[in-house]
Symmetry: C2
Subunit: 154 residues, 2 copies
């Protein structure tokens, strides 16, 4: 294994662990302390479709978790007042999830944190370097997504 491999190997685990930890703490020390990072990421996923809202299945797909996990998590967020569930009129089985006003506010705050983090990382990198970093992580992502799909089809 060459230097690149060894480095990337260790780095990934370490970096991602740190990111989650920091986000967790950032959240805990914020005003909206009744939310975990996980729940914030759920809000983030819900926010991706502002008009119609996202269905439970959409969210599950997006986050790569099971339907039941989403149901439970969304119910909790609904109870806390961050999202609302709206039954589809055309198809009685489907449920659309939308952010409430409070949900939007909190999500915006978290996005700001993210932007800040990325700005910090980007500082001192050339356009080319940034591009390569994104490409590299994209490759990582594709590699894993492909594997995930393959597994799920089984």
């Amino acid at each position: 294994m060459d230097l690149f491999s060894r480095e990337l190997n260790g780095l990934l685990a370490d970096t991602f662990r740190s990111i989650l930890k920091i986000e967790e703490q950032a959240v805990r020390n914020s005003e909206q302390s009744d939310l975990s990072i996980n729940e914030l990421h759920l809000l983030e996923a819900v926010a991706k479709d502002k008009e119609k809202g996202k269905t439970i299945s959409d969210i599950a797909l997006d986050m790569n978790i099971t339907l039941s996990s989403v149901t439970v998590a969304i119910n909790k967020l609904a109870r806390k007042g961050y999202v609302e569930k709206i039954k589809s009129e055309n198809d009685g089985r489907r449920v659309f999830v939308k952010l409430t006003r409070l949900g939007h506010k909190v999500n915006a705050g978290h996005q700001y944190f993210h932007e800040n983090m990325v700005r910090n990382v980007a500082a001192g990198m050339t356009e080319e370097e940034k591009e390569i970093l994104v490409r590299g992580i994209t490759k990582l992502n594709e590699f894993f997504k492909k594997r995930l799909e393959a597994r799920n089809k089984k």
Copy 2:
């Protein structure tokens, strides 16, 4: 927010999630299916010091989790036969953790998986690109590590 920021932002969360998922499944479908990815990563951390073994504190620091979490997790791994705990002779408070033969075997297998993944990502990247990718992620890592330390000092 520019393109870079938006992309990196979404990518990180997504990639990380996928990696853990894939590893989880890889583990479950392997022979040693009584281990979670988390437990494997713990083995990985323990493996970093082959001679003396790592103390509970070392591991906690390395993984950014609390002492109590490590105690519980290591005890479980010890029960399953992947590590052993050895009391220090010079300092009766300290406990060294070492991989058993089985632990080594399983860890080696997991490392192989990691190497494979990295090789896949590296394929088609020039030396320069690889270097930049590592530098980029290193920067990310440093950014978060710094924040973590700052928080812990409070």
